[in-house]
Symmetry: C2
Subunit: 185 residues, 2 copies
DNA sequence: GTCGACATGTAAATTGTTACATGATTTA
DNA sequence: TAAATCATGTAACAATTTACATGTCGAC
């Protein structure tokens, strides 16, 4: 069977795509975002960002062009790039994302702003909440069954996971209400 | 100047070191820990774990040997390995760790159990709490100053950070009390 | 006796880190 | 005008991903 040679898109690629979809940026601007903001754990090193931009440019997902009212060349999404981003945002939330990629889920949510409808955002949050509930129940079950046998430090570290995921769950409920009551322009 | 050729220890290396310090494991056992437990985001792929074990073996930090009462060869820490682990655990908590490496800090805390004294654990937690406080204040300041101008989704995602770090702060206070009141054997 | 879990590894390709290099532009 | 920041890159190296490969052992 022929190998489909669609180059894979890394999570750094998606993060860049999401950033420049909000606002066109230079490579340097992207690096600064990763370096100085709480956007997640993406590499801001030139050796990671510039090659990533090359990948995205070659795949036709971004272009570097002169913006109106500015005499600086900046990267922005092509329609194909926007589409790719959208597909990524619409991927179903899986329990594994909850356990291993929570930051990415939050970044996705932040990027949804102008790209998805209110209904799609709510679907995402509800699915997020469901998976969170399942995961939290797993954690709690483990805690009650095995908690007593675990050394103190490890148990406390585990409980940190519990309180954080509980906080995330509460956040999720609140976010659903906020989005639901928000006027769609 | 001569380059000191001390091979660098990756965070995967430290995670492995901490795991087998608690209990000797086979390479496969280590992989399963990373795969199935909420221990953090370490690669469980054989292409990551086995080379890491080779590195650690070459550096004299771990050995594979027959355990008493078991006829299986498992990896465990050498005294040098234990020492390296201890030094890692004793590194001061920096604000950057809070922002970008929270999971690693919690893993460190879990690994401290039999390796550090009560006093050292409390120092770690107090320092953790201090840095958390500083970071939280930064986040809150940003939120009150810029919060209104940020698109809804991004603002909510930011607020998720706030609630999680607040929960971590509370956890930290509780952990200090728990450790403080715990009888040292 | 076969299926799944245990167990260890390797090879190729990709990705990321670290460090260097260069030059423009802004600001004090 | 010197320093800091903006801006883009490369080269060498290290690490990880993905996929393959092999074999043992216990359970059903």
């Amino acid at each position: 069977m022929k190998k489909t040679n669609v180059p894979k898109i890394t999570s750094l690629d998606y993060a860049i795509l999401g950033l420049i979809n909000q606002e066109p940026l230079t490579g340097y601007g992207i690096r600064k975002q990763f370096e100085t903001t709480a956007i997640g754990n993406y590499s801001s090193s030139p050796g990671a960002v510039y090659p990533a931009l090359d990948r995205l440019k070659k795949s036709g997902l971004v272009i570097k062009s002169l913006l109106k009212n500015q005499n600086k060349e900046k990267f922005s999404c092509t329609p194909k790039g926007k589409d790719t981003l959208k597909k990524w945002l619409l991927q179903p939330v899986e329990i594994n994302d909850i356990a291993k990629n929570l930051d990415e889920l939050l970044l996705k949510f932040a990027f949804m702003d102008k790209l998805l409808t209110k209904g799609q955002k709510l679907d995402f949050l509800k699915s997020f909440q469901n998976q969170l509930k399942i995961y939290l129940e797993e954690l709690k079950a483990f805690h009650t069954q095995e908690g007593a046998g675990i050394p103190l430090n490890a148990r406390l570290a585990f409980e940190h996971g519990l309180v954080c995921y509980s906080a995330t769950y509460k956040w999720c409920k609140n976010a659903i209400n906020t989005i639901r009551n928000h006027q769609e322009k």
